[in-house]
Symmetry: D2
Subunit: 269 residues, 4 copies
Amino acid sequence: MRIGKQDQAFTAIATSDAESITVRGHDLCGDLIGKIDFSDYFWLLVIGEKPTAAQRKMLDACLVAIAEHGLVPSVQAARMTLAAGPDAWQGAMAAGLLGMGSVVAGSSEVAGQFIAEVLADADANGADIDAAAVASLKALKQARKKVPGLGHPQHNSGDPRANRLLDIADQLGVSGRHVSALRTLAEHAPGIIERPLPINVSGAIPAVMLDAGWPLEALKAVPLVARSAGLAAHLYEESLRSIGFIMSHEADQKIEYDGPSSSLQDTQA
Amino acid sequence: MRIGKQDQAFTAIATSDAESITVRGHDLCGDLIGKIDFSDYFWLLVIGEKPTAAQRKMLDACLVAIAEHGLVPSVQAARMTLAAGPDAWQGAMAAGLLGMGSVVAGSSEVAGQFIAEVLADADANGADIDAAAVASLKALKQARKKVPGLGHPQHNSGDPRANRLLDIADQLGVSGRHVSALRTLAEHAPGIIERPLPINVSGAIPAVMLDAGWPLEALKAVPLVARSAGLAAHLYEESLRSIGFIMSHEADQKIEYDGPSSSLQDTQA
Amino acid sequence: MRIGKQDQAFTAIATSDAESITVRGHDLCGDLIGKIDFSDYFWLLVIGEKPTAAQRKMLDACLVAIAEHGLVPSVQAARMTLAAGPDAWQGAMAAGLLGMGSVVAGSSEVAGQFIAEVLADADANGADIDAAAVASLKALKQARKKVPGLGHPQHNSGDPRANRLLDIADQLGVSGRHVSALRTLAEHAPGIIERPLPINVSGAIPAVMLDAGWPLEALKAVPLVARSAGLAAHLYEESLRSIGFIMSHEADQKIEYDGPSSSLQDTQA
Amino acid sequence: MRIGKQDQAFTAIATSDAESITVRGHDLCGDLIGKIDFSDYFWLLVIGEKPTAAQRKMLDACLVAIAEHGLVPSVQAARMTLAAGPDAWQGAMAAGLLGMGSVVAGSSEVAGQFIAEVLADADANGADIDAAAVASLKALKQARKKVPGLGHPQHNSGDPRANRLLDIADQLGVSGRHVSALRTLAEHAPGIIERPLPINVSGAIPAVMLDAGWPLEALKAVPLVARSAGLAAHLYEESLRSIGFIMSHEADQKIEYDGPSSSLQDTQA
């Protein structure tokens, strides 16, 4: 079955023959393995060119910030999956990454789109970021929606990872329009939304990465690759000291059945 | 429902409160973000301690070697999945990682276990690796099974990534018993199995990583984390220049239907 | 970490103790196993009550209509995944279901939401479905978006599955407001969008299921459960006669590398 | 890249052109939709022929027996995944199915292979199932391995679903060699393994399905398709009354951090 357009049958990432493997125009064995570290290679793979020192440092800081945050839901899902199928690490890691949806760890993407829209609105109205930020916050308030990139269920007084990433972006000279827009949003948000709304890590990551030159369409890659490392640590620990079924038992105990009892229904039928 | 033992309700990876996040005994914001690169952090997360320079270089070399090899089946699956659900990167990346089973990219784990078994056999019989390698190869030959870590469908004359990784391990002083066992297997294999069987990248990775001190039970993490970066590049390209449905159409065209025709069966019924 | 509201810790689906299992108020062993078929049970599980004869027939018709359509992208992804990891059926089936995104087979959900919106618009404006349909089609035309539930890449002259499902809904007396709205959309679409746009199976399924009483929020369950059966057939065939790597090789051949060559870049560097 | 044999480029499941869709030799629209229920269609898709009445009843009984068992780990993983990404049902269902590994719900496959091996051993030694069962149980005892298909963490006095399925198989005249072998194993197991080991549902399902003519290689399809229906019910309930994060919070509370504290390590460093 032919679905969609069929006219651009190209890839620019890698090619290989019996003797060599070429990745983004570099010979994998001669020029990359042993000569480039994984963060640089990740940038090269996605963007097509090696990062500058500032770009690499910004990427490393974001990857380290988001890779691990304890027994979050996606980690629990992964560990329960490994406990149930110890021979399929790939299944457990997949189950963990599937939990990076729009609500929790995958929210960097949503926040990045929000910041980009605020900036686009500002551009359309003569570059006044303040006015665009206020307008978008009022619209979210009216629609009773959350502000992407602001607020955190645990770190109410401010997400320390976010502040650290913004500091680093300032030090590296990476901070630009997106960081500025995020800070403007954070300045106006408490007054408009009427609750404490510190910048969270899912707001800081897109702001600093977009300012570093990472594309909006690839933002989701940052938390996904980062979390694959955190999940690896949890899966290894699970294989040595399993808590998947302990967590599952505890969670099950907490939830009460409030459906009809079978005896009642049987008598009635 | 209570499944399995319930007595070790611990994790040693991370903990957090409202003010701070601790990972492997380090303060995430004060001591890790901006101060450690992603490869070091990956090692710290999994192992619990920061790597030495040689360990980090060995890990980086392996991650770079395995992250990307063009439009392999798992990449195709990921790109088709993104084409069908462009709003769920996590689903497309999960589909890609699920293809890292025992046969293709996930075979590092199988090869690592094989090398470890050969060494265990050698230890049990007075440390003669040659004899243990020959015995295990003959057993595989008799069972008509593939030799884990040797041979490649494309690089018949030798997998250039494997040779490069082994060279680096030698240069770094990492090469030890596992590399030695792999080379012994490669030496005897062509004579016993009767076909060319160069060391492949899925054999070299476990050998050099085990010699670098990475645990056998976490071997699968190396190709999984590495491939998440390659998949990220492909998903970004897919979002800009989709080939998922082009590949699918081409693949479909190649396969012929050889079931019964409906008209025939209708007439008979 | 406490995320979201924590105050409704209930489930009404199932409970069990050492002696019995209760599902939706029925004793699983005494009243369900051997006494209810799988389609009825699927309805009971999701809705909480057993279906009427018309509801069951409508559900069966939809499940049969959507379970299998040959080597579509999600089936290819599943078969490639099984070929790469033959010991993990659950991973291959997961990879297949992940391809049921908003674009292809999962589009029933999108079409159902669209039909519901058209009806809500009509209700808000005095129940004139014609006017609401025309307005929504013009809005899609202006936004250059596809019309959910109409059009098909292969069956240009009309998707035979859609017509069959609508006929069955008429015969069963199931057809109501949603089927009517879908037909109204199909009537006006070619004139407004200016191309042939027959009702497709992803439009017919939500229309007939919503009219049968199935909830909008559970629409995605119909194609997902249906396709799990089709995927099972493909995975069994793959385990006997593997085509996963044949398809992958063919797809790879079709795509050309248009990135820089490594020799060129090496010389420049 | 060419992996594996490339010479059997066929499928016998489905084919289609612009006018019609043929599945297993039947016209989908003319002969299947509205004329066959989902259980029959599932059998037809996998096996290639429609089931007899006894085969269909056996399949329905197994699907109903295994579709739902409350908040088991895989259901929890699915609900946490939906809570984190409410717009991707396919991801949540995939996460749930990934938990059907060798240990929990996917163990039907393992038990089926075990029963088949006992029968093969018996055949090789003159059809004495008793002797083969005793020998295999003693081997498991010595290897300290679990007996596939026997024992249950909750239903110690006997899994009521298993007994019901075996009764139905007897009534339908389906019970044959596999049911007989399973009963023989259950008879000898308590004496040899020295603990209560009633037949569980993952033992009964493969025994009755294999006796009904379902192939060993497709056994995993039965729990996977069945659970997709149970997961659908849970995902719908999750979308209305979310407990994903409630369960996750409760599970997290249970697990204590026993890694080093950051202050200690900071002082030392």
